[in-house]
């Protein structure tokens, strides 16, 4: 009898464990859309899997996932000058942004040739090396400081305009560096840098 009772208790606790697991599992397998499904909806503006072919839309394939999440959160909180992304970003939870970030980080960036001014690009290369390379390493290749190399030039222009016009918060130390670059190269600084990045393959 005593033994029976013990068995029963054991079963009861095992059952409790199971029940807890079952209660948690549905949340874990989430009926919500997958990161891939959400990322697919971006393609109309940012190109299939994030490799944009539209010069005003930044390529987001192969983007650093944390930079992606940072950007989306900034849009969500209306901290970044935008025409449309702020309206879209508000639809996603932190977790969903992370999943989308992982999707784009798992894609290979396809770059498309752009028209650029070779003289400006050469000047930009020097400026980049002097003022930008430490954060935007390897000529601005995708990384924790975003994707500059091969990025669409009109988009880069818009971004720099926003920084310089005070419409976008400077990342730590960036203003100092950009100011120094402008100090050195004057009005050519930003076009030179943009042409340099646009010249990258």
């Amino acid at each position: 009898m005593e033994k029976m009772k013990n068995n029963d208790t054991l079963h009861k606790s095992a059952r409790h464990v199971l029940l807890v697991m079952l209660a948690v599992l549905p949340a874990a397998v989430s009926a919500g859309p997958s990161g891939q499904a959400m990322a697919f909806t971006c393609a109309g503006c940012h190109g299939t899997d994030g490799s944009s072919v539209g010069p005003s839309m930044p390529a987001i394939a192969g983007m650093d996932p944390e930079v992606f999440v940072d950007a989306m959160k900034a849009y969500r909180q209306d901290e970044r000058n935008s025409s449309i992304m702020n309206r879209i970003a508000k639809a996603y939870t932190d977790e969903q942004l992370k999943e989308m970030g992982w999707f784009f980080a798992s894609q290979r960036l396809q770059l498309f040739p752009q028209q650029y001014d070779a003289t400006l690009a050469a000047r930009g290369a020097e400026l980049h090396e002097e003022y930008c390379e430490k954060c935007h390493e390897n000529g601005g290749r995708p990384g924790d400081a975003g994707t500059l190399a091969g990025q669409w030039m009109p988009y880069l222009h818009y971004t720099m305009e926003d920084f310089l016009d005070g419409n976008r918060k400077w990342p730590r130390k960036m203003k100092r560096k950009v100011d120094a670059a402008i100090e050195e190269a004057g009005d050519d600084a930003i076009p030179a840098l943009v042409n340099f990045y646009g010249s990258q393959r």
Binding site: L19, L22, A23, L25, P26, V29, Q36, G62, M63, D64, P65, E66, D70, W102, F104, A105, S106, Q107, R108, L109, Q110, L111, E133, K134, C135, E137, P142, G143, D144, A145, P171, R172, K173, R176
Partner: protein, 666 residues
Amino acid sequence: MPSRIETKRVACLWVALLGLMITSAATAVTPEPVDGTAQPAGELMIDNFDPETGKRIIPNERCLTCHGDEEHRTDVRDDGSPVEIFVHSEQIEASVHGSQKCTSCHVTIDRVPHRKAPSVIVGCIECHRETWKEHKDDPDGKHERLEVVNEQIASYMQSVHARPNELDQSRTNATCYDCHAGHNVGELGSIQRAEHRLQNPEICGHCHEKELEDYRTSDHGKAVMEERDSEAAVCSDCHTTHEIASPETDKAKLQITKNCGDCHQEAQRTYFKSYHGQVHRLGYTDAAKCHDCHGGHLVKSEDDPTSEIHASNRLQNCRNCHEDANENFLSFWPHGDAHDRENYPGLWAFRVFMEILVFAVMAFFWVHVLLWLYRELMDRIQGKGFVEDLSQPDVVYFRRFPLVWRWIHFLFAIATMTLILTGTTLLFSHTAWAKAVVEFLGGIRMEGIIHRTAAVIWLGIFFTHLAIATTNIWRKRKTFEWFGSTSLVPNMKDFRDLRDMFKWFLGRGPRPQFSQWTYWQKFDYWAPFWGATVIGLSGLILFMPDKTSLILPGWTFNIANLVHAEEALLAAIFLNSVHFFNVHFRPERFPMSTAIFTGVIPIDEFKHDHRLQYERLLETGELEKHLVHRPSRRLSLAASFITTVLIMAGLTLLTLVLFGLVTLPS
């Protein structure tokens, strides 16, 4: 409730399905190229993340982009203040942490470039503990050194450095990387370690500013900081690296002195020979330690006029402890070395003399003992020698010693043993028993009091005996025969007896017949006269150094210390071995003679050992006067008990002394 269960069932089904379909799901997530156009090669951004933890992998090269740029060694903080950011990558790579990632230690760094001002939070202890735990059983032994590191951690955790800072309790007084150049921890014997040693004073000096100022002017400081001699003493050599007890504690003081000897071995050896050093070695800080005389951080050569041991400063230095010290103190040799003939010829001569004396006496008597033992054993095997006559158990006894001598011998024995015990603790301060005895007695100061008290009693007994003996002789001055059979004054017969004894030992003659006092008994009697003189005089000199120095030069302390010890050693060994054998342990007497406490011996025994006197007394008819009844049972038992205790005590002392001698550090 049932519907909830139902939901869970469905969910469960889902999980099972998903599990089985996982492969197809994988294909769905990463479609392969569908046509001939090759995907551009290159890294995928997800490769920068640890698939298990999802955390960003930050290669060291990425950190060194900024932190390894020699041209831009400083940066500005968000508040505009400058900050040194340069890190020697070659140094790190060559250090023990060369294979670590920057982020292994800088765990708060998760983004590069840093999104906000990074907080430097590095936990060394946890990692070193964990790594050791993980690898301590590895056969390759690559992590062996971590055992030491973990010991150091344990020491550090107990140290004042690990305690919360009084001004800012959120941090400790000092932490690992305050002292260890975090990026440049070298392996044992590496250049980094030598460099780290040279930086040690500066590092400690960040907080201990005053001490650094002092140290800078010292010989150690000059050698390290000016001549870049990494062998010279740095802070941690004296203060230890991790334990760092407060210098006020005995433990630290002892440790510091011990640490001086790591380099100054000769000085420490001679120091430990001195009274100062012996006290120190017993674990007491009462006597002078290295830094008491040489100064701690200010240690300088004696040629330096600002040195504490410079001739003009030395007396003041002595007066720190010996308040009444006078000029005579200056001729004391604190590091006097009796083995150094060149510098201390007087001391050397005394040592040689005393050692010859000790060796000669002991050699002679131990040979005497061994041969005697051999002879008596041989005799007994052959059925010869003295055998107690059991048919006459109630034989009369012969009175050898009146009551006063018996008391004098008892007190003398007690005082001597006390002196041996308390004195040899200093002589053998290196032994554990010495430390235990001193502690048991109540410390070095109490021991000094006991030793001096016993010495006064000892001398008192000696002089009392002298007075009684002189009075006795004076009373009998008319009839006293200075070289007669009852006199203790050695005579020619003693030398003949000695010769005949050796003949007997070797089986070449009969056992000589003795009068009232045998020659060895006379030696036992006269030896203390010599001892009392040597030990007494030297002891008096050492009794109150401040007072003695009023009349005697300082070097007499060195001499007195030496002869006092050597003579005491001689007495201790002689009494507890040779004397014990002659009186108690030779087979005829074994296990003991209680005569000195009962005052009587059986007439048979007297007849055997003092045949000539017996016959003379018989002849003169004086024998009757000396015959007494057998001592009472109580007296016999008491005498046996006291004798046993004293013998045991003596043998114990002998053991301790011999142990001390054998283990004496060279």
